[in-house]
Amino acid sequence: MISIYFRLASNAIKKNKALYLPYIFATSLLGIIYFLLSSLSTDTYVLSLDGGRTVAEVLSMGLYVIKIFASIFILYISLFISRKRTPEYGVLSVLGMEKKHLIGLIFVENLILCIAGIVISLFGGVAFYKIVQSLLLKTIGEPLDHTWRVNIKAFMDVLLIYLAVYVLIFLIQSISILRRKTIDVIKSSSKGEKMSKLDYVLGALGIIGLTVAYFIASSMPDDFKATKIDRLIASFAGDVVLVILATFLFFASGSALIFTLLRGIKHFYYKKTNFILLSGLSFRMRKNGVGLASICILFTMVIVSVAGLASFYSIVDSELITGISHNLIIQNVVHINTDDSYKVEVEIYASDVLQKLEESTDKRNVAMDVKEIDFLLYNSGTIKDGKFVIDYGQRDFDKEVDYSEALMLVADDVSKFSTKPIELKDNQIGVIIPNILVFEESLIVSEFDTIVLPDGKEYEAVYLVDEYSFAQRRDVLDAVYFVFPCSEEEVLERVRFDEFIDSKVNNATNEKVSREFFEALFSPAVPVYFIDFDAGYYEQKEIMKDAGIWATEYNDDTGETYYVFPFEQQAGDMIDFYDIYKGILFVAVALVVVFLTMSILVLYYKNVFDAYEDLKNFQIMRKVGLDERLIRKCVYAQMLITTLLPIVIASLHTLFAENFIKALISMFELRELNQYTNLTLVTTLVFIAVYVVIGIITSQVYIKIIKGKAY
């Protein structure tokens, strides 16, 4: 008995090889990709690489996404195929097979497909894994590992996914067999060509839904920073859901509704090409709606995420990632004891570090650029009636007044950070309000045009446009910069620094508190070095190791790497960023392959089934006087429209998503977003090209069948 099932099942699969070969190939490919990524995410070589741990983490997160998509896809395609095969089961039941026999047959069929998929996935997976691993070892110059190991976790993962999906497939198919009457099984698909009232309503909903979603997207405010992030994410998520639902409705009913409405225009409809095309199209779109809608959504997701990822990468700069404007910023590390001792201890002298950095860069032949700037002192003042009065914070805290911190600098230092000379008269003070503070709205400064210093004189405030990279330091307080066109001593004189310190010392309740302590506290003339290297971040890491200012610690509990260093530097964060990016890129490439495989298969099946149904229709038309040329014209036009509609709608989706994506990217404080538009355009064009190639290849099978040569 069992052997009969096996014979029947294997015959059925052989007979339908046009359906099952691509299916087995595609499902195995998904299995291989999954196995490969899963193996890599636990590969000892990958983990031992610089940043390998981060890449592996991103990979294992990406695996969840792939798992979900691959499962849904396998489920969808198998149910699609089994629906098409329903008449076969009908014939078998007429020949005397009972439902339990049919279910047995379905079980064996699924068993064969499942085992085939698992076996090919595993062998392919192991082979691909070996290839990728060898390439990896070759790149990092390690000797090749000649042992063949099967990653047990990956193996179990693939096995479990396959079993879970196939159990689900078997259950759904069995239930549908149990629920059907024999006669229904034989009469397969010719019902339901006419639009029902519900179809009209759903179709209209789809079109309206798309319009509303597009409207919401295009009416997003340009002023991104004004949009609150949680509101932005909520409306983006809402719009995405709306677009997905509306796309399905549009493809399944909406497009047919449009074609039906067009059929109502008699003068347009009763022209020979339109006549044949429109009737064929509304029928085709309804049959393939779900598949085409899925392709459309997949492609939209691919285009938007690839373009988003690429533009994020292209506009992302080190300053954005790290919040630091230079490769390295160092200053003396001073410990001010606020305990009983009130001692001021310098832990690290910046000049010593600088010395070591110079030695290392000389040895490595790397150019190093050092800019020194003295931050004279923090000071604060009240703003009233357009006057900024420096008062060392001696204000009445009970009264509500506008006040701000100010950092004092000299023009000579500041001009090192710009190509433009700073021209200030003796009675003027330059004012820099850092962009980053303006952008974050964290600094609210009332307008002022006069600055009153403790020397009693009034100075004119001259606003300088912030183009100075030192002003982008993220560690500073929310403060404005005052730039003086004189020497440091002169500045300290003007603000009566000595008098201020004197008063502090005199008023000190504890005699241990020294003048030095107060000077350190209010930091007069602290030199800060802004350093840039002509080297990549990985080499910078080595340089800093040489200079003894790089340390990493790995926490076994959380599995995270910490960077421990006393200075601000970009390399650590940047290396982290690149590692994450590499992982994401790997997952993205895998996902694109998965999505493309799905699209190819959906289009392939659509064309095979459409072709057999259209063939009948065209034969009839030929008998009533339709010439070959017109048939060919209609065949191509119909196929072109049904095949291209998903990518056209996907491009529209992408176009309207632009505002949202820009807004999302702008959450990362990017101000220059023009890149996204260009990259989206490029990505869209690339994917349209890829899609058209897929379309042309899969349409060959359709044309072959229609020409009567196929199979």
């Binding site: 010719s190 019902k191 060509e193 003068h267 029928f283 009839i620 030929r622 008998k623 009533v624 006087g625």
Partner: protein, 252 residues
């Protein structure tokens, strides 16, 4: 006046590599006059469908010629064939061949649309014809919503809407129950009275009895023919049965 002349028609099918040859028609000769209703009878494999396919210009003859309305089919260029078929011939098939993607109305209008007629002209042609054939009520339905008899009437309507010189029917009652068959054949009779020339292939004696002349085909040749003359359908039915028995007997 002869509207269709079939002279020395021969059709030999060859397998792809030229091995076996099967002679479907060996030597067929007959004429159809304008306004005639002809039934062609013969057993399965006698070459009826081959003959019809050649008359419909769907298949070419090995030798011999078919002259329709003074034009030799062979002289018509390939690219004009579809147009010729559309304008000169109307078809009714055993399995209706209605398109599920179209409403009945659009199915009937298909030949006119292909011919590039004006929308107003189409409506004018359709309304009286639909009324005559009793399918006005069905026009907005789809093929899968109506019965076989209704489908065949619609197919018939499609076949004659272009006023073809000759209506070719291939086993039109083959898929119908007897009541629907009777209705369809009466309709053929009515169309014929109004001047429509009809050539019908059938192996139903009852269907053939509605014709004015019956041709019997055997072994690829016209073996015998009988005229209805003034006899009633019932009398003609008996005559046809007799002829068939003679034909069967001759084989034994």
């Amino acid at each position: 006046m002869a509207i269709l002349e079939v002279k020395n028609l021969k059709k030999v099918y060859t397998t792809r590599f030229g091995g076996n040859k099967v002679t479907a028609l060996s030597n067929v000769n007959f004429e159809v006059n304008e306004g005639e209703f002809i039934a062609i009878m013969g057993e399965s494999g006698s070459g009826k469908t081959t003959l019809l396919n050649i008359l419909a210009a769907l298949d070419g003859a090995t030798c011999g010629e078919v002259v329709l309305n003074g034009k030799t089919l062979k002289s018509i260029k390939d690219k004009d064939l579809a147009k010729f078929r559309r304008e000169e011939l109307g078809f009714v098939f055993q399995d209706f061949n209605l398109l599920d993607t179209f409403s009945i109305k659009d199915n009937i209008l298909l030949p006119l649309v292909l011919a590039g007629s004006k929308t107003s002209a189409m409506e004018e042609a359709l309304a009286p014809l639909a009324k005559k054939l009793g399918i006005t009520e069905l026009l907005n339905k789809h093929p899968y919503e109506i019965s076989g008899g209704q489908k065949q009437r619609a197919a018939c309507c499609r076949a004659v809407i272009t006023n073809p010189k000759i209506l070719l029917a291939d086993e039109p009652t083959g898929a119908l129950d007897s009541k629907s068959s009777d209705e369809l054949l009466s309709m053929f009779e009515k169309l014929n009275k109004d001047g429509q020339t009809i050539l019908m292939v059938t192996h139903s004696v009852k269907a053939a009895a509605y014709a004015s002349r019956v041709l019997f085909i055997k072994d690829g040749e016209v073996y015998h023919q009988i005229y209805k003359g003034d006899s009633t359908n019932q009398e003609f039915y008996n005559k046809i049965t007799d002829s068939l028995q003679v034909m069967m007997g001759a084989r034994v």
